[in-house]
C-alpha cells in the first residue's frame, strides 16, 4: 500500500482537508456554527440550476440540516480513504458520493455570506480525479489538475494585464483602502494597520508590491514548459499565500490541496513509481 501513488495522494488530501477543517471550526465557519438565514445569488449558471432544487432554502434556519451537511462533508474524505485502503475496486462509489456531497455542500455554503466559491475549487475538482479507475488514468488526471493549477495562477496575472490594474500607479493604494477600510477606521494603531497605511501613503512602493505579485503569478507559466521548477513554484505560492494573509487579510488556504500536484509531479515520484506506471500501461 505504501507504494500506491493514489493512496499517498488521498492521504495528503485528507491531512490538508482536516487541518483546514480545524481552522474553519476555530473561525466558526461550519454550517452549524454560521446558521445561515439568507442567501446571496451568485452569477453562475450551474449554481442557478442547483438553486432550482431548493436545497439552499432548506438549509436556512434549519439546525438539523446544518449538522447533517457538516457531517457528510467532513466525514467523506476519511471514509473514502478507508474505503480505498480496503477495497480499491469499489472505492469509486465513495469517490462519487464525495463528489456529489462536495458539490452540493459548497454550492449551498458559498451562497451564504461567508466565502466565494472560487476559493474552494480544489474540493470541487479533486473528487473528479479520485474517480479515475486505474493507475494511469489517475496519474493523467492528476497531471491535468497540475495544468489547471498553473493556468489558474497565470490567468490571475493575465487578468491584471488585460484589465489594466498593473498599469495604474495608485492601484495598490486603491485596493488597500477598499479592502481594509474597516480595519483602518476601527484599529488605526494596530501593527497591521500601520503596515497597510505605509503602502497606501507610498503609492509607488504599493504598486511595486502589486507588480511583484503579478510577475509572481505570471512566473507560473514556466510550469507549462518544464516540471523542473515545481518545487520553486511551491515556495513562491506559499510565499504568496502568506503575503495575501498578512497584507490583504485574505485566507486563501483552501487551494492548498492543489500544491500536491506540484509536489508529486512525475519527476518527483520515486523511481519505483515510474516503473509501476510503465508496467500498468496495458490497462
Amino acid at each position: 500500500m505504501k507504494k500506491d501513488f493514489k493512496y499517498q495522494i488521498i492521504q495528503y488530501y485528507c491531512i490538508i482537508f482536516y487541518a483546514l477543517m480545524i481552522y474553519k471550526w476555530h473561525n466558526g465557519l461550519f454550517l452549524y456554527q454560521f446558521q445561515p438565514s439568507f442567501f446571496y445569488t451568485r452569477q453562475d449558471l450551474v449554481t442557478w440550476l442547483f438553486m432550482q432544487t431548493g436545497i439552499h432554502q432548506w438549509l436556512l434556519n434549519n439546525a438539523s440540516s446544518w449538522v447533517l451537511f457538516d457531517i457528510a462533508f467532513y466525514a467523506l474524505p476519511f471514509l473514502y480513504l478507508i474505503h480505498y485502503k480496503n477495497n480499491k475496486s469499489s472505492s469509486y462509489l465513495s469517490a462519487c458520493l464525495m463528489l456529489l456531497v462536495n458539490w452540493c455542500y459548497l454550492q449551498a455554503y458559498t451562497l451564504f455570506p461567508t466565502n466565494s466559491m472560487e476559493g474552494y475549487i480544489a474540493w470541487l475538482l479533486f473528487p473528479f480525479v479520485f474517480l479515475a479507475h486505474g493507475k494511469k488514468s489517475f496519474q493523467l488526471l492528476f497531471e491535468g489538475l497540475r495544468y489547471f493549477f498553473l493556468f489558474w495562477f497565470v490567468s490571475a496575472g493575465m487578468w491584471k494585464l488585460a484589465q489594466g490594474g498593473v498599469f495604474s500607479i495608485t492601484q495598490m493604494s486603491g485596493v488597500l483602502l477598499y479592502q481594509h477600510n474597516q480595519l483602518l477606521t476601527s484599529s488605526p494603531d494596530y501593527w497591521q494597520s500601520k503596515l497597510i497605511l505605509y503602502f497606501i501613503q507610498n503609492p509607488l512602493t504599493g504598486w511595486l508590491l502589486y507588480l511583484s505579485a503579478t510577475l509572481l503569478e505570471l512566473s507560473f507559466f514556466i510550469g507549462f514548459l518544464t516540471k523542473k521548477y515545481d518545487r520553486l513554484l511551491i515556495i513562491l505560492f506559499l510565499f504568496f499565500l502568506l503575503l495575501d494573509y498578512l497584507i490583504m487579510r485574505i485566507p486563501y488556504f483552501e487551494v492548498c490541496p492543489l500544491l500536491l500536484t506540484l509536489l508529486f509531479n512525475d519527476s518527483n515520484l520515486p523511481q519505483n513509481e515510474h516503473s509501476t506506471f510503465t508496467f500498468v500501461k496495458k490497462e
Binding site: 474553519k24 473561525n27 466558526g28 465557519l29 454560521f34 446558521q35 438565514s37 442567501f39 446571496y40 445569488t41 452569477q43 453562475d44 449558471l45 450551474v46 449554481t47 442557478w48 440550476l49 432550482q52 431548493g54 432554502q57 461567508t114 466565502n115 466559491m117 472560487e118 475549487i121 470541487l124 475538482l125 494511469k136 488514468s137 493523467l140 488526471l141 491535468g144 495544468y147 493556468f151 490567468s155 488585460a162 484589465q163 490594474g165 498599469f167 495604474s168 495608485t170 493604494s173 486603491g174 485596493v175 483602502l177 477598499y178 477600510n181 474597516q182 480595519l183 483602518l184 477606521t185 476601527s186 484599529s187 494596530y190 497591521q192 497606501i200 501613503q201 487579510r249 485574505i250 485566507p251
Partner: protein
C-alpha cells in the same frame, strides 16, 4: 506531450479535459457568467483608484464597537459580510433574476432566487450570530454605516446615516 499521452490512453478522458480547458479559456476571454467549476480569477485586476468616500459598517455590542484587530480575517468576514450582503441582497438577487436567470434558463418562479427575510428577522438573527462569535451575552447589537474619507494620511469621519 500531456494531451497526446491522454489521447493515447483514453479518448473519453481526453475529450472531457479538452472540453473543460476550452470552456475555461472561452469563458475567460468572453468574461462571461461563471459555469461551475469554470471561473475567472480576476479579483482586483481592474484599475481601482482611491475613492472620495467609504461607507464603513460598524458593529456595536452593548454600546462598544467591535474592532477588526480583535478577530481573525475569517471571523471578521463572518461578522461584517452578513451585514453588507443583507442590505445588498434584495436588489442584487432581484436583478440576477430579472436580467439573467429567467433570460438564460426556462424558470418562471423567482422564489428560489430571492429571499423573503425581513429586516427585523435579520437583526434578530444577527444579534444571536454576533453573540455566538464574540461568545458574549449582548443586551444590544447595533449596526451603523459611517461615511469616511481618506485625507492622504488617515481616515476621517464624514457623517453617520
Amino acid at each position: 506531450m500531456y494531451l497526446k499521452r491522454l489521447f493515447n490512453h483514453n479518448k473519453l478522458l481526453f475529450g472531457v479535459i479538452v472540453l473543460f480547458a476550452a470552456v475555461q479559456l472561452i469563458n475567460n476571454i468572453r468574461q462571461d457568467i461563471a459555469i461551475s467549476p469554470v471561473y475567472s480569477y480576476g479579483m482586483y485586476s481592474s484599475p481601482i483608484t482611491p475613492s472620495g468616500s467609504y461607507i464603513v459598517p460598524e458593529i456595536f455590542v452593548n454600546g462598544k464597537q467591535l474592532l477588526t484587530k480583535d478577530f481573525t480575517p475569517q471571523q471578521w468576514d463572518n461578522i461584517t459580510l452578513p451585514v453588507t450582503k443583507f442590505y445588498a441582497q434584495q436588489q442584487w438577487n432581484q436583478n440576477q433574476w430579472q436580467q439573467d436567470i429567467r433570460r438564460l434558463l426556462p424558470f418562471s418562479d423567482s422564489l428560489k432566487f430571492v429571499n423573503n427575510i425581513t429586516e427585523n428577522e435579520f437583526r434578530k438573527w444577527y444579534a444571536a450570530h454576533v453573540q455566538a462569535i464574540t461568545q458574549s451575552t449582548a443586551d444590544s447589537v447595533s449596526i451603523v454605516f459611517t461615511n469616511y474619507y481618506f485625507d492622504g494620511l488617515s481616515f476621517k469621519k464624514a457623517s453617520n446615516y
